[in-house]
C-alpha cells in the first residue's frame, strides 16, 4: 500500500480536501436535521392520530346506533317482503280464469296451483267426451294457457268422463298487474259452440 500518498494528503493543503470536508460536515448537519425533523413529524402525527381517535368516538353515538338498528331491521324486512311479494301468487286470477273458462257439463273437482312452474292441475268430470273435448279446446284457445301437458280421461262407473288436466299457464296470469282483475262474471254463451264468451282472451 502506498502510504506516501496518504501522508501527502495529510501534509499538503489540497483545495478539494476542503470541499470534501465542508460537504461531509454539511451532510452531518443535514443528518442531524433530518433526525429532528422526523422526531417533530412523528410527534405531530401521534397527536393527529389521537385527534382522529377522539373524532371516531363522536361517530356512532347511541342515537346513531339506534337509528342504524332500525334502518337495518327495516332493510331486512323490506327485502323479505319484496322476496315474498315477488313470489306472491294471486289465486283469484286463476279462480276468475276458471269462472270464465269452465263450460256447462264440465265439473272440476279441484284446482291445485304450482306457482313455480305455473301449472294448474284440474281433475274433474264431464257429461260426455264431447263436452270434455270442447272444454280442452276452450283452454287451448286462451292466451294465458301455454300448453296442456297432461291430458287423460276414463269412462267412470256412472258412464261419465273422469279426466285429469294439467295446464301450463303463462306466469303473467298470477301477477296482479295483468289487467285481469277483476274478471267480470258473464253468463253469455256462444250459441253455436256452447262456449262461454271470454273477456280475457
Amino acid at each position: 500500500m502506498d502510504f506516501g500518498t496518504i501522508f501527502q494528503l495529510r501534509t499538503k493543503k489540497l483545495w478539494w480536501m476542503d470541499v470534501i470536508l465542508y460537504f461531509v460536515t454539511s451532510l452531518l448537519v443535514a443528518t442531524v436535521l433530518c433526525y429532528f425533523i422526523f422526531l417533530i413529524k412523528n410527534s405531530i402525527q401521534r397527536k393527529d392520530i389521537e385527534k382522529e381517535i377522539v373524532a371516531l368516538e363522536t361517530v356512532g353515538t347511541y342515537q346513531q346506533k339506534k337509528q342504524e338498528r332500525e334502518v337495518v331491521a327495516y332493510q331486512k324486512k323490506i327485502n323479505d317482503f319484496a322476496a315474498l311479494f315477488q313470489n306472491h301468487q294471486f289465486a283469484s286470477q286463476v279462480f276468475y280464469f276458471m269462472q270464465q273458462e269452465t263450460m256447462p257439463n264440465v265439473w272440476f273437482k279441484s284446482f291445485n296451483m304450482d306457482r313455480e312452474n305455473a301449472i294448474v292441475n284440474l281433475p274433474g268430470e264431464s257429461d260426455d267426451a264431447d263436452a270434455f273435448s270442447r272444454q280442452v279446446a276452450v283452454f287451448e284457445k286462451n292466451k294465458y294457457v301455454k300448453n296442456i301437458n297432461l291430458l287423460n280421461y276414463t269412462i267412470a262407473a256412472s258412464s261419465r268422463i273422469a279426466f285429469n288436466l294439467n295446464l301450463a299457464l303463462d306466469p303473467k296470469i298470477f301477477s296482479y298487474i295483468t289487467g285481469l282483475n277483476p274478471i267480470p262474471q258473464t253468463e253469455t254463451q256462444s250459441s253455436e259452440s256452447g262456449v262461454q264468451t271470454n273477456p280475457i282472451k
Binding site: T25, Y35, I49, E52, K76, F81, L84, S92, V106
Partner: protein, 193 residues
C-alpha cells in the same frame, strides 16, 4: 487549531453512518408506520362518518314513509298473532257470505322463498268452507286485498259432482255460476317473523 482533514472527513462519515443507522432510519420507519396509521384512522373516520350520514338520510326517508312501513309491518308482522288471524278470517268469511266449518293450522315452518329469509316463518292453514262459488271468489279476493300477505296454494271443490248431473244444477250454467252452496277446502299460507 489545525484540523487533520482526512481523519476529520473519515470521522464525520463514520458519525453520519452511525446517526443514519441508529437514529434517522428507525425514526423514518416510525414515521412511515405512523403515516399509514393516520391514513387508516382518517379512512375509518371518513367511512364511519359517511356510513352514519347515509343511515341518518335513510332513517329520515323511512320516517317520511311511515304509511308504507306500516303496510309492510302489517303484511309481515313480528309475531304470528294467531288470535287476530283467526278472528280476521272468520270476519272476512262472514262478510263474503261463506262459513268456515273448520280451520287447521299446521306447524309453522321457515319460508322457502330464499336463504336470506331464514327468520320468516310460514303459517299454513287448511280451511274447510261452505258457500257459493261467487262467495268463495269474493273471499279469496278480500284475502288478497288484505294488509297481511295471504297466499292460496290450493283450492279443492269437495262438493259431489253427482249434484251436477242429477239436475239440481242447471246444465246451462257452468260449475262456477251456480248459486248453490258447496264445500270447499282452501290451503292458505301467511307469513310472520
Amino acid at each position: 487549531m489545525k484540523i487533520d482533514r482526512p481523519i476529520a472527513i473519515a470521522l464525520i462519515l463514520f458519525i453520519i453512518l452511525l446517526l443514519v443507522f441508529f437514529l434517522v432510519v428507525p425514526e423514518y420507519n416510525k414515521f412511515k408506520i405512523l403515516q399509514a396509521d393516520l391514513g387508516e384512522k382518517r379512512a375509518e373516520f371518513n367511512a364511519e362518518f359517511d356510513y352514519y350520514n347515509a343511515i341518518a338520510n335513510t332513517y329520515s326517508q323511512l320516517q317520511t314513509r311511515q304509511d308504507s312501513l306500516k303496510k309492510i309491518d302489517d303484511a309481515l308482522p313480528i309475531e304470528s298473532n294467531l288470535g287476530n288471524l283467526v278472528y280476521y278470517l272468520q270476519n272476512k268469511a262472514l262478510e263474503n257470505g261463506i262459513i268456515i266449518r273448520s280451520l287447521f293450522l299446521s306447524k309453522p315452518s321457515a319460508a322457502n322463498a330464499g336463504e336470506e329469509m331464514q327468520n320468516v316463518k310460514e303459517l299454513s292453514f287448511s280451511l274447510s268452507l261452505l258457500g257459493s262459488y261467487s262467495s268463495l271468489g269474493n273471499f279469496i279476493r278480500s284475502l288478497e286485498k288484505s294488509a297481511r300477505l295471504f297466499e292460496i296454494s290450493s283450492i279443492s271443490f269437495n262438493s259431489n259432482s253427482g249434484q251436477f248431473s242429477s239436475g239440481s244444477i242447471s246444465s246451462a250454467k257452468s260449475q262456477f255460476q251456480t248459486p248453490q252452496l258447496f264445500s270447499f277446502s282452501l290451503e292458505l299460507k301467511t307469513y310472520s317473523y
